[in-house]
Symmetry: C2
Subunit: 352 residues, 2 copies
């Protein structure tokens, strides 16, 4: 919903956060609820790495389906920029595998770089495809007033940027971001009270996977995201080709290419062709990350899942700010959220 509502009508809240402010505040959810004048409302912190608030949304949705609440709130928040770099590195790092990856000296750029290299090896994909994802998302983010980076970049600049972990440059990586996002959900039959254009949740899928990538059968499939998407499609009764736009978890550009495949927009190994042919641009067959994605809109960890939902809901309502970013006539939208390097995932499908 996006109409006006008396906050006291909301019955329960779920707040996704990794460790906002470096975890110097515990019991975060009741504190936030108190700060907005709603002390008393049940509220809880939800942590599932980068997919925290996507899970918060899933539970806010389940609570309504359960009949226990009519109106619920799913939010997310992360404050990262005022923390020392080492502290951020620590909090972020332990969301992946600690025993075999972090203690051996690798980090998220390293892990995603291994996935990217393996993908390029198996499917003969060029580095240019990764850079094209960055170029597209910066182009979209430049038109999004809510984006962290509002400047376009050239393919050449993306390719020549400082290397983080081959083949990923700084432009293949999302930034450090402060941010918050909230969605308010209500029972379907009450929606017309609050908005003229209700957006319905028609599918919610979730799954987990081995944290360490060496335990997985296939380095280039994010199995948790695949399972979550399959489940969401099944519940929604729609097929990937019916989806009009998607916000996917592009923490690194390779993640977006794999997301195309996990969401069924491209066959295995064919994700690179989708970006090459411009099919995920606004105006293309299946616009992806019209909001700029994590890459350009930013990635405030705990807030990202709900911020993707915000973008899809605005698009489905035809209310994307800066009209050149609007995906015309979109009726079905999908959000794809991944925790860590794929240890958890959550996919939602929405219909206008």
């Amino acid at each position: 919903m996006d109409g006006s509502i008396d906050p006291k009508e909301i019955k329960e809240a779920w707040i996704g956060s990794l460790k906002t402010g470096g975890a110097q505040l515990g019991n975060l959810a009741p504190l936030l609820i108190e700060q907005v004048g709603l002390a008393g409302m049940p509220a809880c912190s939800i942590e599932n790495a980068c997919s925290s608030s996507a899970y918060a949304f899933r539970y806010a949705y389940m609570a309504i389906k359960s009949g226990i609440c009519d109106i619920t709130l799913a939010g997310g928040v992360e404050k990262m920029n005022d923390l020392p770099r080492e502290r951020n590195r620590y909090w972020l790092g332990v969301s992946g595998d600690v025993e075999w990856e972090r203690l051996a000296g690798t980090n998220f750029p390293g892990v995603y770089a291994m996935m990217a290299l393996r993908y390029m090896h198996e499917h003969g994909m060029k580095r240019e495809r990764l850079a094209e994802v960055a170029v597209k998302n910066h182009k979209n983010g430049a038109r999004n007033p809510d984006a962290q980076f509002r400047s376009e970049i050239s393919l050449e600049r993306a390719l020549r940027a400082p290397m983080l972990a081959y083949p990923l440059t700084v432009f293949d990586s999302c930034p450090i971001t402060d941010g918050a996002a909230v969605a308010i959900l209500c029972r379907g039959d009450l929606a017309s009270k609050y908005t003229d254009t209700p957006i319905r949740v028609i599918g919610s899928g979730a799954a987990s996977d081995y944290l360490a990538i060496h335990d997985r059968k296939d380095l280039t499939t994010v199995a948790a995201a695949q399972k979550a998407a399959d489940e969401a499609y099944k519940q929604a009764g729609v097929k990937p080709k019916e989806v009009d736009l998607a916000e996917v978890h592009d923490c690194f550009t390779i993640a977006e290419i794999m997301a195309y495949e996990n969401c069924g927009f491209a066959g295995k190994g064919k994700g690179g062709e989708l970006i090459k042919n411009g099919e995920t641009e606004i105006g293309g067959k299946i616009p992806v990350n019209a909001g700029g994605g994590l890459k350009s809109k930013g990635h405030p960890i705990g807030a990202t899942g709900v911020s993707q939902i915000y973008e899809v809901v605005k698009q489905l309502k035809g209310e994307a700010r800066e009209k050149t970013r609007q995906v015309k006539g979109a009726e079905i939208g999908l959000t794809h959220s991944v925790g860590g390097s794929g240890g958890s995932a959550c996919v939602h499908i929405f219909r206008r």
Copy 2:
């Protein structure tokens, strides 16, 4: 349920934990699920201070009521004993108010001591009542094979123990504990497949409150617990006098006295009389913490909420180990879980 089940029948999991192992592992829930051979199952960490796994249970219950899952898992875990004392103090401390309480130098014993002093001042209660709670809970814990402390204590020993924060001694306080607990829930109409004596969840209430106790109207009422209990009773359609036993959050002995009142077992200011008259002993009018409570069974933060549920379920099934601990003929049981000094709370009611 407590019969045998193929773990693969479980569809989703919620894991309560404050910061197990000092938060050196992130993405805890998928990691735990992987370690028990169930990688792939959706799983998420739930954090609401000391009431974390009570909330995990609430969501596992909501998920079944929503129709999205038939069988769910709610667990909790905390590993505290191998951490440096300062690290534990930090993690525990920030679950209460940071800005006005922790940074001013007080801690949980200090906060609960203020509540106890105010309670004694308002209601003329003697310190002996607090010590009697400790004596009762140690007596019960001595008969619980799962308890951390299995020795009885005398009233004199409790009263003369080293002072933590007047009027609370070390025997008024729960210990530092390692532990884990799990509950498996299923749809009511499937229960007979797994057990001959199903225990039904008939009420689930939750609420939050101001984190800092100076913001609350009344120092001696845990308003979140009061609200949560009221909601649970309303859903269950039962009255406090119909409850046959309760496991309540006795992180400090004063908390148990306030819990008597918040759960409706005693009127305002009358909690002390209940313990004085032995009415919360096994065999009394309303046995409380027959399992030993946090005081004696232990308080592994994230696990405590579900461990209370384990005790109540075992009691309702007539399966409390060490038969002298069994509450005879119990049909309705209640669990009362509080986060921090009352920033959050969650109450469940069960019926055999």
